[in-house]
Amino acid sequence: MNLSPLHIVLVGVLGLLGVGLYGLLVSRNLIKVLVALQILVKAALLGFILAGSASQQIAVSQSLALTVIVADTVVAVIGMALAVQIKRRLGTLDVGMLSSLKE
């Protein structure tokens, strides 16, 4: 197996994926959850650009990555607004307390 620099980057994608998932599993603060989400999306972006670089289609992959960045930013904005409102109404950002969808 030829180890090219791109394989290192692929390892990086997987690593970021792992860190993001771990963050989602372990964080109790809602804002930390948003941070973990952002890390996951960065992993995906890296994957896109990596694929584009490896297959000579950097332009297409950049367009896709742009769409992902826009979507991800909108998600971050809405998530932040939600976190602020939750803090205002319910007084806590603890994910363990925010379980009224239980029933």
Binding site: L24, V95, L98
Partner: protein
């Protein structure tokens, strides 16, 4: 030409449903008239189908890809049931004009009834297994919606939900059969299935056969699925007459009759059908003997008579079962509509509060009596001929214990028929006279059905020949009407049956002198009245499911981390499967 007839017979009721719903509930008279017009038109058009029975596909709507073609075939079996559905549907709608005159939400009622009529006609005329399943589901939905028509009454809602659940469980069997047929034969067409059934591996064919038996038993309320029909009597009476006596419950019998050539060679299938029919006939007859609710007693008698039809198919007499289907549809609809007239007049369904109504309601009494004659199987009415044909076939082709059981069932049938008539129309009047006789539209339907009860036996020859000509796989032998009549009158089994029936009638008439027999059986009364233990089984199944659901609730913590752990865990399992698969 046949294609147009089929399209009209299905399309006119459906168009009527749209129109009645569109007219809106602010014009109830218009809704009554429109529904009547469309239903009557559908009924009249359906008669035209008699002219064109053939086993060829007359109408084919190609659908893309995996759905096959939606085809329609107008063969003898389908035409018979289509006419029954359309005509009795029309008569039930005519009856509803007076019965439902003071009810609200007529748009919903008539739309559902008309939708049902169209779907039932489609069910029996279609040649594609998938389309058959689709129409099956539409009829189940209409049945549920109409049982729960008075949706502010918890009993009605519970009855509707129960009917839906039990019949849908059976519907799964039908879908499985359709899919298995497609995977093995590459086609959903019924004609293909019947012709090539022997090429399917025996194990798979057994699964299809018993799956269809389960679906038919659930739809026709046979043992062990019979608990939904008595509870479905919360529906308005014309609905009970149409759906739960004359058409939808016959869908199960139709299914078995249509697929009989494919399944008859499977070991144990015919025996299973005989057992199901026998048990239903006997158990339901016993329950009818102690029922005090008029409609419930009629529901039990429906289950019992459907048992006779199943028994007939199990012994190989497909024609006899369809002939009895025709007779039963007519006299059972008559009985239900007569019961509706009584209930409309008196306001209660409890037979112990009726009595002596014959004086105030002579027309209803006469027609109801004719229906009861058909039910009991006495020589004037059509029920006699069809029942005798079944018993005769059972004696010659079926197991002896089956024949004896059905014979006893005939006696029990006579007993409870006379019991019903006597409790409602004869004897001392319980309360001051306030019953009015049937209203004009009701009288029309009752008269037509009574006339048919006395005369449909004469169609036996025609029906037989129509079916023989257009059902090549079934190898039927149709004889002329006169031949059938003489056959019935000269068979020895007829004598036995008439003897047993007379015994049953006598038992009711002189029941006071049979007290020595009845008293020791008294403790069983509650057991029988509560459905012979089947209701208890139902309740246990429901409790079990509720318990399992409550236990599984613990996995719903509502916490983000827990749910994400589920996601990641699922991902890990998926990857593990892929790794081992690779």
């Amino acid at each position: 030409m046949a294609a147009w007839l089929i399209l009209l017979t299905i399309g006119l009721p459906w168009l009527g449903a749209l129109c009645v719903w569109g007219v809106s509930d602010r014009h109830p008279k218009a809704q009554h008239r429109l529904a009547l017009a469309f239903a009557a038109a559908g009924g009249l058009v359906s008669f035209g189908l008699v002219l064109v029975p053939s086993s060829a596909v007359v109408l084919s709507i190609p659908m893309d890809g995996v759905f096959g073609d939606f085809t329609f075939v107008a063969d003898g079996l389908g035409v018979l049931l289509a006419i029954i559905a359309a005509v009795i549907g029309g008569l039930a709608v005519i009856f509803s004009n007076d019965y439902m005159a003071s009810e609200a939400q007529l748009g919903r009622y008539y739309a559902l009834v008309l939708l049902f009529i169209g779907a039932m006609v489609g069910l029996v005329l279609t040649g594609s297994l998938l389309l058959m399943f689709l129409f099956w589901e539409i009829t189940a939905f209409c049945s549920y919606a109409l049982i729960s028509f008075h949706n502010d009454d918890p009993k009605a809602v519970a009855g509707g939900v129960k009917a839906l659940i039990v019949t849908q469980l059976g519907g799964v069997g039908l879908l499985a059969g359709a899919i298995l047929s497609y995977t093995h034969l590459g086609s959903y067409q019924v004609n293909t299935f019947l012709a090539e059934a022997h090429t399917i591996p025996a194990g798979v064919l057994s699964v299809i056969a018993f799956g269809y038996l389960a679906a038919a038993a659930a739809k026709s309320a046979q043992v062990p699925f019979q608990t939904w029909l008595p509870d479905a009597m919360e529906a308005p009476t014309p609905v009970s007459a149409l759906i739960h006596a004359a058409t939808m419950v016959n869908a199960g019998v139709y299914l078995l009759a249509r697929f009989y050539p494919a399944f008859e060679a499977i070991p144990g299938w015919k025996g299973a059908v005989v057992v199901v029919g026998l048990l239903s006939a006997l158990l339901a007859a016993i329950m009818a003997m102690v029922a005090n609710d008029l409609k419930r007693a009629l529901a039990y008698s429906t289950i019992s008579q459907l048992g006779y039809m199943f028994y007939a198919i199990g012994t190989g007499a497909v024609f006899a079962s369809q002939f009895h289907l025709l007779s039963h549809a007519v006299f059972k609809a008559l009985l239900f509509l007569g019961a509706g007239a009584v209930i409309h007049a008196v306001g209660t369904r409890d037979m112990r509060q009726m009595g002596g109504l014959g004086k105030q309601m002579p027309f209803t009494r006469t027609t109801f009596l004719l229906g009861a004659l058909g039910l009991a199987g006495l020589p004037i009415a059509n029920g006699f001929f069809s029942k005798e044909l079944i018993l005769e076939s059972g004696a010659t082709h079926g197991p002896v214990w089956g024949y004896l059981g059905m014979l006893i069932g005939a006696g029990l049938t006579a007993y409870y028929s006379l019991r019903m008539v006597a409790m409602v129309f004869f004897g001392k009047p319980e309360e001051p006279a306030h019953g009015h006789d049937a209203l004009p539209a009701m009288r029309f339907s009752l008269f037509v059905l009574a006339f048919c009860t006395l005369t449909t036996w004469s169609l036996a020859g025609g029906v037989g020949q129509m079916m023989e000509g257009s059902l090549p796989s079934h190898h039927l032998h149709g004889s002329g009407t006169w031949a059938i009549v003489t056959e019935v009158f000269t068979a020895p089994t007829t004598g036995f049956a008439l003897g047993i029936i007379a015994l049953g009638l006598a038992a009711w008439h002189w029941r006071s002198s049979l007290a020595w027999l009845i008293k020791p059986l008294r403790p069983l009364h509650t057991f029988v009245a509560s459905g012979l233990g089947f209701e208890w089984i139902n309740q246990q199944v429901i409790n079990g499911i509720k318990g399992a659901a409550a236990a599984l609730r613990k996995t719903q913590t509502g916490q983000l981390n827990f749910n994400v752990a589920g996601v990641v865990g699922g991902l890990a399992i998926l990857l593990l499967i892929l790794v081992w698969g690779v």
